[in-house]
């Protein structure tokens, strides 16, 4: 019998839905059989009409009363749908309530913190999808860039939520319960951060991130002792904020020595000893480098600095919670901590400032004297509670995560290196944090490889410098050739990275490197045995 099926597109927000409905004349046909619908709607994967196909039917809502079926379909131009159309107009009183309920049920996905408004967003890994993919969920790239930032751990979010919803008091309000409970939470978080690094809670100052902590450490210490001490020492592979702070201090009249690093990325301790002068106030060396993952010998540097009575600052943003750190064993005087690198919230960090012997720091931010006068400003309770929870979780999970990340890192490196020749790992393989792998693929351009690996979120250097076209200064400092520096990719493996993600990344990486090398004339020349360094490139 003839079925009338008008088609109408309803746009709701950014979702375009096709509301397709059939008016079934006879109620005998209810409940509507999927095969019946399929037949009449000609929903096929092949163009031939009228055949029953096994293609999955999108979810539909049937309004049993009027015999109208609402079929929310996301219009996918690649699937050939043929509709039975008619221009008949139904009385809207009949079908509008059904349309509304259909829209409501379709669009009312429960609010998940990470939901992007699509049903069950899944990564591009096919191993996880159980059934055939639904017509709808947008696949997002795999996240392999944990050095840039990390996702929030659900335990951290759970700890933060009460302070975002109910317990919203200012922790510095001394006169009412809202203030007292926020202050208690803040102090609890301080204790959690302190116990991760072996410090006393009174030595932790909350800031807005590791950049601010680095600024306070370097500028604060330098300026406090500026009358007698005018020299600072740092390395060439430090984070931009450290280098920029030093540069601004140079403009104020200080002298800064930028220590070079060896090919392995580690500084030479003899050079450090030689560089320390009687008027050196601070040595700043980062614990784990964010671009090449190299671990500096912090304990030895701490020993040298304390014997020469020089303050030692370390930017431990990438290291805290991942490798065991103890400020007393390693003789660290100042340490910067970042929230969003340890599965905590963005916009919060901390600085550890030693009290015994006391390190004096000139405050950069003036105000009401919060945080012992060193960092004025209301302490953001939900963020610091998140930071504290992240530190506590990191302390509990450190061993498990480290074992797992080491295994995955081994797997990634071995699989890439055994399938592809001419791949160089930047940084010392021994003193290396396994979660940050920087590989240079010779004869392949880094940007094009990144663009080719569009299903994987990777980066070729630090996020702060990714906008510029220059190769990373860290790679230049460790002495990589210009062309290898341009073809480096940084793989980040974190707590939530799965084996399937690593395998997928490896497979795609190998595939695209091979493809790009096929297209490269330099690769051809190398295959023919020509030594590229001996070529004289003529100028036109």
């Amino acid at each position: 019998m003839p079925l009338r099926a008008p088609v109408q597109t309803v746009t709701f927000g950014q979702k375009g839905l096709h509301l397709l409905w059939l008016h079934v004349p006879s109620k005998r046909l209810c409940p509507l059989e999927p095969s019946f619908l399929r037949y009449h709607l000609n929903i096929n994967s092949t163009p031939s009409a009228g055949t029953l196909s096994p293609s999955p039917l999108p979810p539909f809502t049937a309004c049993q009363v009027s015999g109208v079926v609402f079929f929310p379909l996301r219009f996918d131009p690649s699937i050939p749908y043929t509709y039975l159309t008619s221009s008949q107009i139904f009385p809207s009183a009949l079908w509008m309530p059904c349309v509304h309920s259909c829209l409501r049920s379709y669009l009312a996905t429960p609010f998940h913190f990470l939901s992007v408004g699509d049903h069950a967003p899944q990564s591009a890994v096919p191993a996880d999808t159980a059934a055939a993919p639904e017509a709808g969920p947008v696949l997002r790239p795999l996240y392999m860039d944990v050095q840039a930032t990390t996702p929030l751990d659900p335990r951290v979010l759970d700890a933060m939520l009460p302070y975002l919803i109910n317990y919203y008091g200012n922790p510095h309000s001394r006169t009412h319960a809202y203030g007292w409970e926020s202050e208690a939470a803040m102090e609890r978080a301080r204790q959690q951060v302190a116990s991760l690094i072996g410090a006393d809670p009174r030595e932790i100052i909350f800031t807005s991130g590791a950049t601010e902590s680095n600024n306070i450490a370097i500028k604060g210490v330098a300026r406090f002792y500026r009358l007698r001490k005018k020299h600072l020492i740092t390395t060439q592979t430090e984070h931009k904020c450290v280098l920029d702070s030093c540069r601004s201090l140079e403009a104020e009249g200080f002298q800064v020595t930028y220590l070079p690093v060896q090919k392995s990325g580690i500084i030479d301790l003899k050079e450090l000893e030689a560089a320390i002068q009687p008027d050196t106030s601070l040595v700043s060396v980062m614990t784990v480098n964010n671009e090449i993952g190299v671990k500096q010998p912090i304990a030895e540097i701490g020993r040298i600095c304390s014997s020469r009575k020089v303050y030692f600052h370390t930017d431990a943003a990438q290291a805290v919670g991942k490798i065991p750190l103890d400020v007393n064993d390693m003789k660290i005087d100042l340490m910067s901590i970042s929230g969003h690198k340890i599965y905590g919230p963005k916009g919060v960090g901390a600085i550890y400032i030693r009290r015994r012997p006391r390190v004096r720091v000139e405050a950069l931010q003036s105000g009401g004297g919060q945080e012992r006068g060193m960092r004025s400003g209301t302490v953001p309770t939900p963020l610091v509670v998140g930071l504290g929870a992240a530190c506590e979780v990191a302390q509990q999970e450190m061993e498990y995560d480290h074992k797992r990340i080491s295994k995955l890192s081994e797997r990634l490196i071995q699989n890439i290196m055994k399938s592809l020749p001419d791949v160089v790992m930047n940084g010392d393989p021994e003193h290396h944090y396994p979660g940050c792998i920087n590989l240079s693929f010779a004869y392949v351009e880094g940007e094009s490889l990144l663009m080719a690996l569009k299903d994987v979120a990777l980066s070729s250097g630090s996020a702060c410098t990714s906008a510029s076209l220059e190769p990373s200064y860290v790679l230049r400092a460790i002495g990589t050739d210009e062309d290898l520096a341009h073809s480096s990719i940084r793989f980040g493996i974190g707590r939530f990275t799965t084996e399937e993600e690593v395998d997928y990344t490896v497979e795609k990486c190998i595939q695209h490197v091979k493809r790009l090398r096929e297209m490269s004339p330099l690769w051809e020349m190398v295959q023919d045995g020509i030594d590229l360094k001996s070529i004289k490139w003529t100028q036109h």
Binding site: H112, F113, L114, S115, A120, P121, Q122, S123, V125, D128, Y143, P151, P154, R155, L157, D158, L161, Y400, R495, F496, T497, T498
Partner: protein
């Protein structure tokens, strides 16, 4: 003592795995399932009842977290 009996622990394990499958984000879902399995496996030979009770309480707290966040 009833809370830390074998049946109770297994119930807790099953409940945690069931709730973890409700995470909509792939990374969280896989992490939760893997971590729960590994944690229960790692602690399966613990004999001290006080320690068992501590672990069970922690697991119950984590189950609450998963229920709220999934």
């Amino acid at each position: 003592m009833a809370a830390s009996s074998r049946a109770q622990v297994l119930d807790l394990y099953r409940a945690m795995l069931r709730e973890s499958k409700r995470f909509s984000a792939y990374n969280y879902r896989t992490y939760a399932v893997r971590r729960i399995r590994d944690a229960f496996r790692e602690n399966k030979n613990v004999k001290d009842p006080v320690e068992i009770q501590t672990l069970v309480n922690k697991a119950k707290r984590d189950l609450g977290i998963i229920r709220r966040q999934a």
